[in-house]
Subunit: 576 residues, 2 copies
């Protein structure tokens, strides 16, 4: 929802003021909107765009060289008035006429039409073009009834680039019409936006569902379907658009297209990239060549959750215009001055070799037990992944469970591969350690990598894995974790459980207890210590990075260590 | 929440693939992340940044000329592993050493530290720098305990621009350290993000409250306060940062600073601009000169709702580095090649003159009644603004109430001004008409402007406003609205109520009924017609722009017309 505003009725004006203040290099304010800071070159047709507020970067963010010469900016989701449009057009006029461009909504059609009449009456040569890219808003037989959504950008840009080439007004208009006829969009939505000062969103979509055929003013779509995966969403968008090619593009095979994957507001970049990955693959499968794609927020609807795909089917001329340089606050392309000389790509790192060092029979047998323990470990983490995330979310970022799951799964897989290659216990553990650290990332990945590596080093690939070797490995692991993380017991981290575990194990083994019993005792000590850290949680949200994020965040790391030592005990107990 | 994903555990990898596919001009994929497409110039220090996924444009979006040479990209909110970082660093190495840069989180500190050790062991000259700009995460005496948030960008950029100047590794490091010491951030949050596949957000903030001192991994902040207005938010951010200047910046007066107002994900551009408007004013009040501000999403946390302010206090050298050209997918600055010649600013439109045409005594008296009617009209709209919005939201964008409120308030104000200047009824109505159309924007603004203007033309400034003049004006208004909007009765628009109103009024007046009684009868007819349109609502979401958006969207426009005619009747009844 929209939360940051003062007087809601002043929102659009204040937003425009702030926008202009932040972008003085590009724009200057005039009554009704903004024009290019440097003005329109003499004798160049001025492209003046516009529409309501709430769609940034449409429309003010598209003013600048190679794009619009001015933007008339209305109130929230409301067309600018004819008076505003006229004022911006007069300020942008470079003596060669004005092309007014806007999305095809009745309010805009009315006001831009009235402005055009007034301008013409004042002797300004003027033409208008309404963008009609949204194929969900009317059938293929009624293109003039269609709304304009993210297709605004390529159509505006084609016209502006044609103007920059010095074409006369009617040629610029024809270029815009041609680009509009070649541009199609289709979108889906998951939730509506809430306007400044409003108590609830303009529409809602039931949990787990999506609206198909979105509008950009809270129009809720023409149908409803189950929430798709990212790949399914990509397939729906691409297949819908490939069903309706422009008349003069008989087949996608061999065609070129500009692609815009547009986020409506709160679908975020990473999600857009996941969808784009499949959009690109599907278009390639259809034989379409993608030209300079744009993935991001180009025409929004406040914080609406939705995504739309726009294709502009290019010919040589439209491709040149799409590739032409542009320098607006929200859309820049083309080479910067004085590019630095750069050398070619460098070689990449080769993977570690798959071969394992030779190992004794004894160590290979022990390696099988290690694999069983790692499987139990990964199983325990799987079982408790949500619980670990929940604990971690109290003071951390809630990813402890997921990170542990990724790491332990990768460790188990790497161990199984190493074992299959004939590795001993030491190598199995070291390979597992590297895989855990590499796949889990995060703090817990580094620390569990250290723990497994210490154990692997202590066991080696030749000797029998005696209780005292195991205890030595655990002691070294405990020391390594403290060294790496810079934490000690009492800092409310994994160390709080690891140190009593290691110390109890070492003491019991030194006292002659067999490994299974000693491990049992040590796991119990770790469990008690982990439970105790829950009592000591720091004040919620206290944000010292090293105490908080280091060592798996308080409590969650200790808790998972206790769970794991207990699970491994089950394996040892069964094995002996 | 994050909705578009496939397998949540594959999310970060798939996002990186999609990112690289969309940005081939800038980057190429290597094991562990991305490097510049063109590689690192020979003999240039390579700046390799990195961190978890979920923060786009950090970190992959910051790779390109003038910015990073490579980015190591970890899993969601998890540090990249040492192995990933090493791989990216080796691919980015241009023979002059590598500076590894990252936010100060323990996971990143561990993995980047391990990577540095390995690289050094392989003969690569390497340094590390953790960014520590977040002043909410530790006190001024513990700068090394602070987290890195949106200050990443100016610190990375300073180092990269220094590298591009050809400085050796230790000088690049010193530059980065200096920029980091001069960079401070502070943020507020309104809601947490939901990770891919998770069932609930990492944290929540109670409705109407905000968390103060946000983190970018769902850390919920260090305190909680009531939700601020945009201006209050700006004051909190600016005053907090002005309280802690760098040691070598004794006073803000006369100082220069780079400014980043960063959106965390679902605080949208327009909101950021409203806040920036006041941030800029407050900094100017304090005597601070703002240099090339950035307002947008630079370091995010999925769809978290929050905003942070970053100030980098510049000296001549840091200012030059901040202004240096950059060309990364998510951050571009500097001049494009071959800028077009542009003429200077043009003259702006003068306001309409305030003087009013001469009017008869009779017409000035009638004008006072018109003003009373416009006050009643605005009052009725005020009372029903939410109801009108609700009705409009069924098939439209829900802004009918707000637009009507803006328009009628502006119309009343303009009418009062005109009356004070001695205007007659005709001019009072025409001024009100222009103000309504200009301030309301949208469809209803254009239509109500037409209605008031038609009435004003019929009444004029000389003659007494007889019942038949009023009826003629309403008839002309009805015809004008149909002409302008292209709708007829039965299209489920305002016309459905306006036509029976006009026809009933004309018939009653022609039959000799006095204005009050005739208006009463006409208002009743409009009310019945408006009620009937509710029965005829089109299928929800059917999106033909002209039928839906034109004429105030079905029902809401008819409803407000009925309300207004009834309110005006009250004025006429009282007046006669």
């Amino acid at each position: 929802m929209t939360r940051l505003f003062n007087d809601p009725t002043a929102f659009a004006d204040e937003a425009l003021e702030g926008f202009a203040a932040a972008h003085r290099r590009w724009v200057r304010s005039v009554t009704g909107g903004v024009v290019r800071a440097g003005g329109t070159p003499d004798g160049e047709v001025a492209v003046v765009v516009g529409g309501g507020s709430g769609h940034y970067p449409a429309f003010s963010g598209l003013v600048g060289r190679g794009l619009a010469h001015g933007a008339a900016v209305g109130n929230v989701f409301a067309s600018p008035s004819a008076q505003q449009i006229r004022s911006v057009a007069r300020a942008a006029h470079g003596g060669a006429g004005v092309l007014l461009m806007y999305g095809n909504y009745a309010g805009d059609v009315l006001h831009f039409g009235q402005a055009a009449e007034r301008l013409a009456g004042e002797g300004v040569e003027v033409r208008t073009l309404a963008v009609t890219d949204d194929i969900s808003s009317a059938g293929p037989g009624q293109p003039a009834e269609r709304r304009g959504i993210a297709g605004d950008l390529p159509v505006f840009k084609a016209a502006a680039a044609a103007a920059e080439e010095g074409l006369p007004l009617d040629e610029v208009l024809r270029t815009a019409e041609h680009a509009n006829a070649r541009t199609r969009s289709f979108g889906i939505a998951f939730s509506g936006c809430t306007l400044p000062g409003a108590g609830h969103p303009l529409f809602t979509v039931p949990e787990g569902r999506m609206a198909v055929g979105l509008g950009i003013h809270g129009e809720p779509g023409i149908g409803e379907e189950p929430l798709p995966t990212a790949d399914e969403a990509a397939r729906l968008l691409v297949s819908t658009l490939l069903k309706e090619l422009p008349d003069d593009v008989p087949t996608p095979e061999g065609a070129r297209t500009a692609v815009i994957l547009n986020g409506l507001g709160s679908v975020k970049y990473e999600e857009l990239f996941v969808v784009y990955r499949t959009v690109a693959a599907l278009l390639a499968d259809a034989g379409v060549e993608i030209v300079e794609p744009e993935v991001g927020e180009l025409v929004t609807s406040f914080d609406m959750a939705g995504v739309s795909l726009t294709l502009t089917w290019l010919d040589d001329r439209l491709e040149r215009l799409w590739r032409a340089p542009a320098d607006a606050p929200a859309h820049r392309k083309g080479a910067l001055e004085a590019p630095a000389a750069a050398s070619g790509p460098r070689e990449e790192e080769a993977d570690d070799t798959a071969a394992v060092p030779p190992a004794s029979e004894e160590s290979r047998e022990a390696a099988a037990t290690v694999l069983t323990a790692l499987r139990a470990l990964a199983g325990t983490v799987d079982e408790h992944v949500e619980e670990l995330g929940r604990i971690d979310a109290v003071a951390g970022d809630g990813d402890h469970g997921i990170g542990m799951q990724r790491g332990s799964t990768a460790a188990h897989r790497a161990a199984a591969e190493a074992l299959a290659l004939g590795a001993g216990a030491g190598t199995v553990l070291t390979r597992a350690a590297d895989a855990w650290a590499d796949r889990a990332g995060g703090t817990s990945g580094a620390l569990w990598g250290t723990i497994l590596r210490a154990l692997g080093t202590a066991l080696g690939d030749q000797d029998a894995p005696t209780a005292s070797r195991v205890a030595d490995g655990v002691t070294e692991a405990s020391a390594g974790v403290r060294r790496l993380g810079g934490a000690e017991t009492g800092d409310k981290t994994m160390v709080d459980a690891l140190v009593p575990f290691a110390d109890t194990l070492a003491d019991a083994v030194a006292a002659g207890e067999p490994l299974t019993g000693a491990w049992d005792r040590a796991a119990t000590a770790a469990g008690s210590a982990a439970a105790a850290t829950a009592e000591l949680l720091p004040r919620k949200g206290r944000a010292r990075p090293h105490a908080e994020k280091s060592l798996g965040t308080p409590d969650a790391g200790a808790h998972s260590l206790a769970l794991i030592t207990r699970a491994v005990h089950g394996v040892l107990h069964h094995d002996h």
